[in-house]
């Protein structure tokens, strides 16, 4: 799975918005990669973090917990989290577990 960011991070440029592309299966390994990348963006001053789920088919429990952790860190940093391009199953899952109450859906 590839997790890429739209823009490169430079020490002199503060990215106000960033997009992280999640892979097809969000489990412990890929979830921790997403979390690491999100924390890096938030630490560098990002104020709007978009998670793109266009490739995502399955999110397991560990993936849910990690995404809740990302939401928590973003809230503490005063940043907004956007979930985009989710398929129907993912929306249903996130709704059921309450994640969608804390993010903006696109």
């Amino acid at each position: 799975m590839n997790i890429t960011s739209e823009t490169a991070v430079s020490p002199r440029v503060v990215e106000q918005t960033s997009t992280i592309f999640a892979g097809s299966y969000i489990n412990k390994l890929s979830g921790e990669q997403i979390e690491h990348e999100c924390r890096r963006k938030l630490d560098s001053g990002c104020k709007e973090l978009t998670l793109d789920f266009s490739q995502t088919e399955i999110v397991n429990s560990i993936g849910i917990s990690i995404l809740l952790g990302v939401i928590d860190v973003a809230e503490k940093n005063g940043a907004k989290v956007v979930f985009s391009e989710m398929n129907e199953d993912t929306v249903e899952l996130f709704d059921m577990l309450g994640l969608t109450k804390h993010v903006t859906i696109q």
């Binding site: 412990k28 397991n60 429990s61 560990i62 993936g63 849910i64 917990s65 990690i66 809740l68 952790g69 939401i71 928590d72 249903e92 899952l93 059921m96 577990l97 309450g98 994640l99 109450k101 804390h102």
Partner: protein, 428 residues
């Protein structure tokens, strides 16, 4: 499919993964961290922690913490027996509002309040508290349902078992370490006893003071040179230390006679190997063959030794080693009726008697040990300490040994000399 069915399927998936995680031999800390993730993810719980209970310190120590911040205490003391009993009642989620009666909750109330913790789940295995789970609010903002609590209990049971298993392992490791220390102490006591015996044996003979100790050391060196493992080498040295234990029953005047003893006295002295065997045989030694080494250390390959006149293959190998170490010490120390022999003579004697009195492979191992030290390849100075620097620095000794080694077993010294980089060509 309705939402309840979906929740059930999702939770079952988490439960299955939790079972897999716990039965895998992963790092314990990581297992608990993953377990907390699975529990949080199963029900969409925003924050929480898993703690292990220390029954020695009466504390709950956090093993994994999610989104509770740095100020959340990593250790919670359970101060009274009553609260410990209360928590040990069973694996049931306790609402934080109900748990406020517990003294430790009152101490940490502010932390729990700030972090919006809602449930405390004691982890109880075989009626003993092994840990606890703390859970914050659900991401939906809804209260925990009885269905949620059932899921939490099922997953908590798995986590509790994982902690109990870890505690058991730690206990086994601790006991094993205690046993190891006890074994080391016993071993040390055994060796001290062996050395005390050796000193007692040597006390009987003022001219050969330290003989048993030196034979023990030479025996150890030979075993090392033969490539024996640490336990076998240790056993060999014990055999060396105790080889003359039978002399304790021989009259002092015979042992200390400042002349060549007569046939009658010799017969008396020659009983010491069999007597040594009788003394050592009933003792349960941690090493085999110690009594046999005492019994047969005066046997010779050519069958002219005593007490039984055994031939080569009939003689236990350890006895052959002790025989060489014993003879070498006799030749290299002053006796009442003769001075120590020059080092070159001793090497010649070993060479000449190789295959008659001494086993060639043992002579080779022993001389290789001396040669390594003379050539500087071995800097432990084992022989210098036992024989004295002047004796070891006898002119031509290294060449004599190198020649003898090649004579005894050409392949061994050639390989050794070439590997050590001494001389341009192997000597044939």
């Amino acid at each position: 499919m309705n939402e309840t069915d979906n929740k059930l399927i999702h939770a079952f998936g988490a439960l299955a993964e939790l079972g897999h995680e716990i039965t895998n031999k992963n790092n314990f800390q990581e297992t608990i961290r993953t377990s907390l993730h699975l529990l949080s993810g199963a029900l969409g719980i925003r924050r929480g922690a898993v703690a292990r209970y220390s029954r020695f310190a009466h504390e709950l120590n956090m093993l994994a913490v999610r989104a509770l911040g740095d100020e959340f205490p990593l250790t919670l003391g359970l101060t009274t027996e009553d609260e410990r009993q209360f928590l040990a009642i069973g694996l049931n989620p306790i609402e934080v509002s109900q748990a406020r009666v517990l003294p430790f909750f009152q101490v940490y109330d502010v932390s729990f309040e700030n972090k919006r913790l809602e449930l405390l789940i004691p982890l109880v295995v075989r009626e003993e508290i092994v840990g606890a789970i703390f859970l914050g609010e659900k991401a939906t903002g809804e209260p925990y349902t009885s269905y949620d609590k059932d899921i939490i209990c099922a997953m908590g049971q798995h986590i509790g078992v994982a902690i109990a298993q870890r505690n058991l392992m730690a206990e086994i490791e601790r006991r094993s370490e205690e046993n190891r220390q006890l074994f080391d102490e016993m071993r040390s006591t055994y060796h001290d006893t062996v050395k005390a015996f050796a000193a007692a044996i040597d006390c009987k003979d003022k001219y050969t003071e330290g003989h048993s100790v030196r034979v023990g050391r030479f025996t150890e060196i030979i075993a090392t040179e033969l490539g024996w493992g640490p336990d076998e080498t240790e056993g060999a040295s014990v055999a060396g230390y105790l080889h003359d234990v039978g002399k304790l029953t021989v009259e002092r005047k015979i042992i200390n006679a400042p002349y060549r003893i007569n046939a009658k006295e010799s017969a008396e002295l020659n009983k010491h190997p069999a007597v040594g065997y009788e003394i050592l045989q009933p003792i349960h030694h941690p090493y085999t063959d110690v009594p046999l080494a005492a019994k047969y250390h005066h046997e010779r390959l050519d069958g002219r030794g005593y007490p039984d006149g055994l031939y080569d293959r009939e003689i236990p190998f350890i006895a052959k080693i002790v025989n060489l170490a014993d003879s070498f010490d006799a030749m290299t120390t002053d006796r009442p009726y003769k001075s120590r022999r020059p080092a070159i003579d001793v090497v010649e004697d070993l060479h000449r008697n190789s295959g008659r009195q001494f086993a060639p492979e043992i002579v080779t191992a022993f001389l290789s040990g001396i040669f390594k030290e003379l050539s500087g390849d071995d800097r432990n100075k084992r022989f210098r300490r036992l024989l004295g620097r002047d004796y070891m620095e006898t002119e031509g000794l290294a060449d004599k040994i190198k020649f003898t080694l090649n004579e005894l077993a050409p392949t061994t010294p050639m390989t050794y000399v070439a590997a050590a980089g001494i001389g341009d060509q192997p000597i044939l």
